[in-house]
Symmetry: C2
Subunit: 415 residues, 2 copies
C-alpha cells in the first residue's frame, strides 16, 4: 500500500484515466456513488434515444413493417455479434434472447443430449442459485441425471470431474465473493475428461476481457443488465462454439429457431447455426435499449476496462483496510487482482445494517446473506474519487456506530 | 345485406360508435388504414409515457432500488391480474412473463405431469406452428409421448379425445381463418375424457370477451402484442386455474419462481400460486410498455368491443362481396359473426400480389401462404369508414389489375 495515498493522489488517478470521458455517456443521480452496477448497470441517453426511436418512429409509424424495415427480426443475431466482441466470440456464435435462466436450460439440455451415455451435471454449491434451480429443472426431465456440487460433494470443482460428467456449469466470477476462475484451464480439464463446459458470464461480460474462443469453451450464457448496462431485465445471451452448432438439440424449439420460420410448416426443423437457440418472439423495446448500450461498448477497449477495474478494486481494498480496519471488516474477495472480478466483498457481522446505512447516505452497494457487503466497480462510470468518497462514508458509519441506527430501517425496508 | 349501404350510412355507424373516442388514444400514421393489429397492435402515447418514466426516472434515477420502489419485481403478477379481467380470470391466476412459446412449454409440461399415465397431446394441424413446435419439444423430453393432430389424425379435434389424452392444446381463434372455438363446450368434452386443456388466446385476448373461469378452463397462454397493443414482442402470459396451482411442476424452475427468491437457497422450492410459472428476470422496459397499454384497457367494456368487432367484420364481408365479388375472392373466415374472431380472411389465387398492392396503397393487412389475405379489425382504433376505404382500394386494385404490377415488388421485398 502506498503510504502517501491522499485525495490529491486519487484525483490524479482520475485525471490520468483513459476511460474518464466515458462517464459522461451515463446518467448518475445527484448525491449517489453507485457501486451496484454489477447488479443493474446505469442508464445512458444513447439508450433512451434507441428506445424512443424504436417506440415512436418504428413501432408507431412503420407498425408491422418494422419487423423488416427496422431489422427487428434480425436483432438477436446482430446484437449477439456485437456483444460477441466483448466475450472473445467470433461472429455467428452468440445470440441475444430470453433470460439467463431459460438460456441455461437450453444449453444444459443441448449438452446432455451430446453426451447421452453420461449422467452427471457438475455445478457450484455457492453458484448464483438460479443456475442450480435450472440444472434441477433439466435433470427432472432426464431420469437418472444427477447434480454434483462443489462445496457439497467435494471441496473443489476439479475433484468432481470424471468420465461420468456430461457437462459442467460454472460461473466465471462468483456473484458473492468475486472469485475469478481460470477459463482456459478449467475448460481444458473438462475436455480431458470428455465433458462439456458452460460458462456463466453474468459477472464478467463487460467487466473484463473474456476469451471464449481462445479458451476453447463449449457454451456460455449471461445477462446484459449488469456491466453491459442494457437496462433492467434486458434480454440475456447464449454463446455456442461453431463446432457444436450442428449437434445442438434443445426442446425450447419455437418458431424463431425454425429453419423457415415464415413458411408456417407443421413440423419443427432446426435453423442453422446459433439461431437454433432461439425460441419465441423477443421483446423488441428491451432489445433496442440493449442496442443503445452495446453501441457505447463498440468504442471501448476491454483491456483498458480491466486495467482500471483492478486499479479501482485495489484502491478500495487498500483504503478500506487502512481506514476501516479496526471495525470488524474482513475481506471476502481474493486479494490478488488477477483472481478477482470487478467487485469487492467484505464480511461484517452486521453487514445488512452497515449496507443500509451506506445506502441512506448515497453509497449504493448491496448485501448478500448472511454477512456480505458487496461493491461493484464499473470502470465506464466509476472513478477513483468515487472510491475515496465511498470509503470516507463507510469509515464514518463504522467509527460513529451510525449503522446501529439503521436497524429500524432494516425492519421496515424490504429488499 | 343492406341494399342502401353507402358512405353516408357507414359514417353514421362511426358517429354512433360508443368506442369512437378510444381511437384518439392511439397513433395511426398518415395515409394508412391499419388492418394488421391482429399481428402487431398500434402504439399509444400513454405507452410511451410509461416507457419514458420507467427509463428516465426509475432506471436512471432510482437504479437498483427501483426493483422495489417502482414495483418492478411485482409487475408479472400485477399485470397478470390487470390482464385477467379481459380474459375472465379472477385475480391470482394470470402472470405476464417470457414468450408465448416458452409459456406453452411450461403449461404442457405441467399438464403432462398431472396426467402421468397418459401419453397423448392433442393439437391442431393448422395451429399457429410454434404451438406444434413446442409440443414437439415437450414430447422430446418425455419418451412415449405422442402428438395427435386435428386435420391429420382425424378431421375434428373432438374425435381425437379419448382416455389416452393427457392434454389438449387448442387455439381459441385460428390465426389464419379466424374460426372461433366454443371454449366451454370443448373444455367440457376434454374434462369428460379426463384430459386437461390449454387455450391459446393469442387471437382472442383483447379481441373479444374470454371467459376462462366460467368455462372451467385449466390453462391458457397468449401474447400481448396483438389486440392488447403491448408493443413489439411484449411479454406473454399464462393463466392457470387456482385448483391446479399446488399441482404445477414445470422444469423452467428459475429463481423468480422460487418460494424465497432472495434467500439464495441451494435447492429449488416452488413458490405459491401462479408465481411458480415464473422463471428468470423479466424485461422491465417491455413490461412497462405493456402496462401503459393495459391501463387503456381498464376503461374498455369487452362486450362493446365484441359488438363493434362483429359489426366491422360483417361490414367488411358485405362490402367486399358486393363490390369485389367478380374478382376471384373467396371468403375463408366463418360467415357467422359468432363463429368468427376479429379478423376476416379471403382466399385469392394471387393473394400475395394483391396484399402487396394493398400495402403499397396504405391498406395494411397481411398474407399467409398459400393464398390467404388476412385483415384484422381492432375495435379500439379501426372505424367503419376505414372499412369502406379499404374496400374501395381493394376493389380498385382488383378491377384495374394493379396487383399484377406489384409482382416485381414481391420479388424484391422480403417479408
Amino acid at each position: 500500500m502506498r503510504a502517501t495515498l491522499d485525495l490529491a493522489a486519487v484525483e490524479a488517478m482520475d485525471a490520468a484515466d483513459p476511460l474518464r470521458a466515458m462517464r459522461d455517456r451515463f446518467i448518475l443521480p445527484e448525491g449517489v456513488i453507485y457501486l451496484d452496477g454489477n447488479s443493474l448497470g446505469a442508464a445512458a441517453p444513447a439508450v433512451f434515444n434507441e428506445l424512443q426511436k424504436a417506440a415512436t418512429q418504428e413501432w408507431a409509424q412503420d407498425l408491422i413493417r418494422a419487423w423488416n424495415t427496422a431489422g427487428w427480426f434480425d436483432m438477436p443475431v446482430a446484437l449477439g455479434d456485437q456483444l460477441g466482441r466483448l466475450i472473445g466470440a467470433a461472429a455467428g456464435q452468440t445470440v441475444v434472447c430470453d433470460t439467463t435462466s431459460i438460456n441455461i436450460y437450453k444449453v444444459l439440455h443441448a449438452a446432455l443430449a451430446m453426451r447421452p451415455d453420461r449422467t452427471v451435471i457438475v455445478a457450484e454449491g455457492d453458484s448464483f442459485p438460479t443456475d442450480l434451480y435450472m440444472a434441477e429443472g433439466v435433470a427432472s426431465t432426464r431420469p437418472g441425471t444427477v447434480l454434483r456440487l462443489e462445496g457439497v460433494d467435494a471441496p473443489t470443482i476439479e475433484e468432481l470431474i470424471d468420465e461420468r460428467v456430461a457437462v459442467i456449469l460454472v460461473n466465471h466470477v462468483n456473484y458473492k465473493s468475486g472469485q475469478l476462475r481460470d477459463m482456459a484451464a478449467l475448460t481444458r480439464k473438462a475436455h480431458e475428461a470428455g465433458a462439456l463446459i458452460v460458462w456463466d458470464l453474468c459477472h464478467t461480460a463487460g467487466a473484463l476481457p473474456v476469451e471464449l474462443d481462445a479458451a476453447n469453451a463449449d457454451f456460455a450464457i449471461g445477462c446484459t443488465y449488469k456491466y453491459l448496462n442494457g437496462g433492467p431485465g434486458a434480454p440475456a445471451f447464449i454463446y455456442a462454439a461453431t463446432r457444436h452448432h450442428d449437434h445442438v438439440h434443445q426442446p425450447l424449439s419455437g418458431w424463431w429457431g425454425h429453419a423457415r420460420p415464415f413458411a408456417f410448416e407443421q413440423g419443427f426443423a432446426a435453423g442453422s447455426g446459433i439461431r437454433r437457440f432461439l425460441c419465441g418472439t423477443q421483446p423488441v423495446l428491451s432489445m433496442r435499449a440493449l442496442k443503445g448500450a452495446l453501441d457505447i461498448w463498440d468504442q471501448v477497449d476491454m483491456a483498458a476496462v480491466r486495467k482500471k477495474s483492478i486499479a479501482l478494486t485495489e484502491l478500495f481494498i487498500q483504503l478500506v483496510e487502512a481506514r476501516c480496519g479496526a471495525y470488524g471488516l474482513e475481506l471476502e474477495s481474493p486479494r490478488d487482482g488477477n483472481a478477482r472480478g470487478s467487485q469487492v466483498s467484505f464480511l461484517h457481522p452486521h453487514g445488512y445494517q452497515v449496507m443500509r446505512a451506506l445506502i441512506e447516505r448515497g453509497v449504493i452497494g448491496d448485501f448478500r446473506a448472511p454477512s456480505t457487503i458487496r461493491f461493484g466497480f464499473t470502470p465506464l462510470y466509476v472513478g477513483y474519487r468515487d472510491v475515496w468518497q465511498a470509503v470516507e462514508v463507510l469509515e464514518d458509519i463504522l467509527r460513529t456506530g451510525a449503522w446501529q441506527e439503521a436497524r429500524f430501517a432494516v425492519k421496515t425496508a424490504v429488499t
